[in-house]
Subunit: 341 residues, 2 copies
């Protein structure tokens, strides 16, 4: 049973109109009361009347997705596949994005649920329990996609980032590289980044390679971030012949940073990314990368969610799809006459 405005007012000990004002005209309510109301709204999973409620008896034929970044990103292909899959069944995909790096921002999810959707997709988030609670309390099926194997709920569709990390390291070890550097996504806030790191770390260690702490840089997942990180790594004057980048955006930026210092890729330094982004075959040199099942995730998410909406059954157990090395020209055998290291 979904919570009502009354339930919220009762929990906080204020009038219904105060709760309503806090939700619609927050500037008219003092910060302390607003905060207590927020806590109650969150605890009860309350969603304002009107919309979801008005449509409770019929399909809205829309699915809402919360994504970390709507524009250019590693998720673009997944979003497109999801949209196409839903579109085939005459469903519209509505997208909303929280303030960047603020997983605590419940507003986009709340907006989607308020507007009335038949199901929810959470893409590439660590899925804070407050989000999952809000969805569950509104009785909606949810697909958590780009989920990591270590963090997989029912309805999860993703892949094993540990194995992806392992694949990258194994490829470079097989080319005789032993001295590594790593530009990573943010490890504290990103489960996938942590698992990739763990996979490559254990593989490098097992293969007798070295990844010194000083040659690990954390960065946002943008081109410019990769460029800056590569310059920073070179400034340490420590030897490495292979650079592992947390995704292809970082890798493209990093290659520009290395080139600018006169280094040749792959002769002086081999570079590998993750994701197999759309641009990766077309850059110079074409980028070796670990392919993620980006399109498949979107397609399966659409099918699974539509089936759950139709059947009113629970979402299926986690589905983890394979990742694979895509070997192009940005990696090559260790060269002894190289400029760096």
């Amino acid at each position: 049973m979904a919570a009502s405005l009354q339930d919220v007012a009762r929990m906080v000990g204020v009038s219904i109109s105060t709760v309503s004002r806090a939700l619609h005209r927050p500037d008219m309510v003092d910060a302390e009361t607003r905060k207590r109301i927020d806590v109650a709204v969150s605890a009860l999973g309350y969603v304002p009347q009107g919309v979801g409620r008005a449509l409770v008896s019929r399909r809205t034929r829309s699915v809402g997705a919360v994504v970390p970044r709507i524009g250019a990103s590693a998720f673009a292909q997944t979003i497109e596949a999801l949209r196409q899959g839903l579109g085939k069944a005459n469903y519209t995909l509505l997208l909303a994005q929280p303030a960047i790096n603020e997983q605590a921002d419940l507003r986009p999810l709340r907006t989607l649920i308020e507007r009335g959707v038949d199901g929810v997709v959470l893409l590439g988030n660590d899925c804070p329990s407050a989000w999952l609670d809000l969805i569950a309390k509104n009785g909606l099926p949810v697909a958590t996609i780009w989920a990591d194997a270590g963090n997989a709920l029912p309805g999860a569709i993703g892949f094993d980032n540990y194995i992806a990390g392992q694949q990258a390291a194994e490829h470079l070890l097989s080319l005789a590289h032993r001295e590594f550097a790593f530009i990573s996504g943010h490890l504290a806030s990103n489960q996938r980044a942590r698992q990739r790191y763990q996979g490559l770390l254990e593989t490098i260690a097992a293969g007798g390679g070295r990844l010194s702490r000083e040659l690990i840089v954390e960065a946002d997942y943008g081109f410019a971030d990769g460029y800056e990180a590569a310059r920073h790594l070179l400034s340490k004057k420590l030897p490495f012949s292979a650079l592992i980048c947390g995704n292809d955006y970082l890798a493209l930026g990093a290659m520009a940073g290395l080139r600018e210092q006169g280094l040749d890729i792959p002769h002086d330094i081999s570079v590998i990314g993750f994701n197999d982004s759309e641009f990766s075959p077309f850059v110079n040199p074409p980028l070796t990368t670990i392919r993620f099942p980006s399109v498949e995730i979107g397609t399966i998410a659409a099918e699974t969610l539509l089936a759950a909406i139709d059947s009113k059954k629970a979402m299926p157990p986690p589905q983890m799809l394979p990742t694979a090395l895509v070997r192009r020209s940005s990696t090559g055998p260790l060269q002894h006459g190289r400029k760096h290291g």
Copy 2:
């Protein structure tokens, strides 16, 4: 006065429940009737009850945007700036996308309006009059962004693609290039592409250059499309020393296609794009391009729309922002010893 379900039923001469079925369970209504209902719904600007209607008296604090492509695209920076601008005023941006290349697809726009939004953004569309009608009939302010100067409605925010085309051609002419090839977006369906073409065509003609019909290829705006188009152009065995690409996605793909045939950029062929996409400074060689005011468009759209929502006044006259040449290394002076042409 917004149209009702009854109005639609009366216009078509069927029962209200048939109209309702056609909207929510289209598979249960025969195609002929469905088509007539679609025509009536469109003519009347009808939007289903419940949502927009239920919220008529209060702000939804959300803005809906219809975008041609949600994933990686030239629009990514604009969408992010728009989201940030709206976010500052506590507004959520909801995005929906029509089936690709189907401007006739009214569904995403309808879904957004049904869900209740305070304003609408149409991004990078030619803005079919059916869309504008539906928005006007629901009394919502609308910003048409990435609008071309030649196609600018009130609330338009964009830039002059004719001038952008001119800037690209002038740059190449100043480097002594006289033989051109052009990979364009689809001219029939894209006003911006047509204007870019017109600007560069008149500039090339005025400067005594040549752009033969056989060296003009139309393509979708993707990396792979640029790659294929470049290969196709080379297969004609006609001379050209400068390749103009309709956006940076095409240009990156085209450079890969040229390199594969052993051509050096810019020594053998100069390449220029449009947009100054996020990747363009980081590719090899860094891409010369015409910068579009992508971020500014998003920022101004958010401000303008929020002001119109607050004041309930009409949107301001069209705002056209400047474009500029960003000179990098993919273009250079005409070389007489080059391989091609």
